[in-house]
């Protein structure tokens, strides 16, 4: 009776270990920060890409307008993939696109925009990546959707696709 109980306990313990390891193997170990709650846009001062003048975030984001903040760089290959979709979004009158040029060379960035088109109503320079951190970004490309109350309501890590564009269009409708 005692042996049977020990065997039962061992089987239960091994099954428990198997389930834990099996689940662990199937779950990706990489952590992706999620935006579950609404966050206010950060207050910052940044250099304008074309004029080289410092602009305040309060003068960039107006109330009652949807904004997309897209972090991009000329050296980032996925940024090229998503660029046509950003061009498509820029044609929508209900939304304005702000570009954050991340750790880039000015001439390369300018060539990127000249070659592929400029979907942004304003481009800001983030030379050392600290502006990206203020937004909660950790790489390029990343896209943030900001609502009419100046809250970040969505964050898309990696290049956006048609599905995401449709989702954005549905929200801003």
């Amino acid at each position: 009776m005692k042996n049977k109980f020990s065997l039962f306990v061992i089987v239960i313990f091994l099954s428990f270990c198997f389930v834990i390891f099996y689940k662990g193997l199937n779950t990706p170990n990489n952590y992706t920060p999620k935006v579950n709650e609404k966050n206010n846009i950060p207050t910052f001062k940044a250099k304008d890409f074309y004029s080289n003048n410092y602009v305040n975030s309060d003068n960039i984001f107006e109330e009652n307008t949807f904004y997309i903040v897209n972090i991009w760089a000329s050296w980032c290959v996925p940024c090229r993939t998503e660029h046509p979709l950003l061009m498509q979004l820029s044609k929508n009158q209900s939304i304005k696109l702000i570009g954050l040029n991340y750790r880039d060379n000015f001439n390369n960035a300018k060539k990127f925009i000249n070659d592929l088109g400029n979907p942004y109503s304003r481009i800001l320079i983030d030379k050392d990546g600290t502006l990206g951190v203020e937004f909660g970004a950790y790489g390029v490309p990343e896209t943030f959707l900001i609502d009419k109350n100046k809250d970040i309501i969505k964050k898309f890590v990696g290049p956006i696709n048609q599905e995401i564009v449709n989702e954005i269009k549905l929200i801003i409708k």
Binding site: Y31, P33, G129, G136, Y138
Partner: protein, 122 residues
Amino acid sequence: MKIVKIFIILFLITSFSELKSDEVNDILKSKILKNIRCLICQGQSVYDSESEFASSIKLIVEKKLNDGLKEKQIYQFLREKYGDWIVYDPHLNKNTYILWLLPLLLFLLGGAIMRQKLKFRN
């Protein structure tokens, strides 16, 4: 001559205290960076990592310290941006209570088993 000497001493004292405050800031900065996880090279702290994300975080921590923010305020700022996972020392909340309570439960369970065994022997 006496006045010059006093000025020299005062100058040395003020320069020494400035150096000391810089040193204290550097120690605090290193402590904070060692407690922050790098999201790009996961498994490494920001202090050890050379990724672009880590170098941006190093700059932002320095900036926040210069702005007068305290250690806890910097952790809170990063938590708001990236979630609890960014800090090596997780807070007690609904996602981490098992992590905090399981060792205590196991300790109590072990104690109860030992007590039973000892009681049985006696």
